[in-house]
């Protein structure tokens, strides 16, 4: 099972990696990475990663 990362808090862009829950590994979106190939195969089977966690509430004011 996999889970998406939250979007980048500054750029707002998708993170180019996926969280593999079973071992807490971060899998980069690099085609040469064999774990990424396993993730693509998992997607091809019709699976979907979990959505990212809700954004944390900052204890510091942002403005």
């Amino acid at each position: 099972m996999y889970k998406k990362y939250k979007k980048h808090e500054i750029t707002g862009e998708e993170i180019k990696a996926i969280h593999r829950i079973v071992d807490d590994a971060s899998i980069p979106f690099d085609p040469a990475n064999t774990s990424y190939q396993e993730y693509l195969a998992w997607l091809a089977e019709g699976n979907e990663p979990l959505p990212p966690d809700e954004p944390e509430q900052s204890e510091e004011p942002n403005a």
Partner: protein
Amino acid sequence: MAGQLKVGGNIIASHSGVEGAGEVTLQNVTLGDSAVPSHSMNFRNKIINGNFDIWQRGDGPFTTGYSADRWVDQGSGATLSMSKGTFTNGQTDVPGNPKYYMQWSITTGNDNSRITQRIEGVQTFSGETVTLSYWARHVSGTLPSGGIKANLRQEFGTGGTPSSTVYVNSDNISLTSNWQKFTTTFNVPSISGKTIGTDGNDYLGVSLLWQLGNDTTAYSIDIAQVQLEEGTVPTPFEHRPYGTELALCQRYFYIFDSTGLDDLLYFRSPYATGTPPNTTASVAHFHPVTMRASPDIIATVNGGTINRKTSSNKVVVFQMASTNINGAYAVTSYTANAEL
């Protein structure tokens, strides 16, 4: 014999014209340009960690996946363990004073059982003759009745429409309880006309101790000094400096450990307090060598929660909320994995 000796053909070593009568000592020999070897004599062994000196993941026993650096089990259907064996100081059964060997113990046999090294690039040795050599002994149990052999496997990777896998097998080997050197010469098929995947994960696999048949008996084999080189001659095992061999391994896997550090590599925020968005703190670590691909990262911290870990083949960046950094949080260990 004084003067200049020019030889236009093969040299047959002899003494006083009688072959095999004694030793021939060559002195002050100058090799002409045409005497250059047809292939490199440096780094001739394409196997990394063939001497089993590097065990970054620990000494085992391992029951699946990687064990000694670069060596992975492909024991689907079998149960097994792999662990680090240590030679007795001064032993002479295996030459060259190796320190360690691989202990390969099958608990339940299966015809998929084998140990493999994946050599980056399916072009490796394409269309060439190579020699695989290694030392092995049967330690205990009953060897599979179908035999054990080695093989080479050309894997063309993923991406696009890569060609199918090509195999080349050795003959069966006959193990005894004594260390023996085994040598097999392979004609590696040419990849001419083949299509290599576009994802950069193609390789030449070298598999040893491949069980034939579905015997489920238990047995143990030790293996040492694995070498794969161009040509038909098994040259003496190539001993590379430890640091060189470790760096070769770290292209595919390494472990960072903060043990021994009095201060840690702490997360820091790039933003001044109160500066929006002020919600991010990060720390970057550079890999010891450029890795084969962007690696998987598994990390531990001394507190707080890592939001994400992103990596390239040169660096990894860990990120957590900046609100945590007053806790002096740091990454205390991690693994980076870019194996094939």
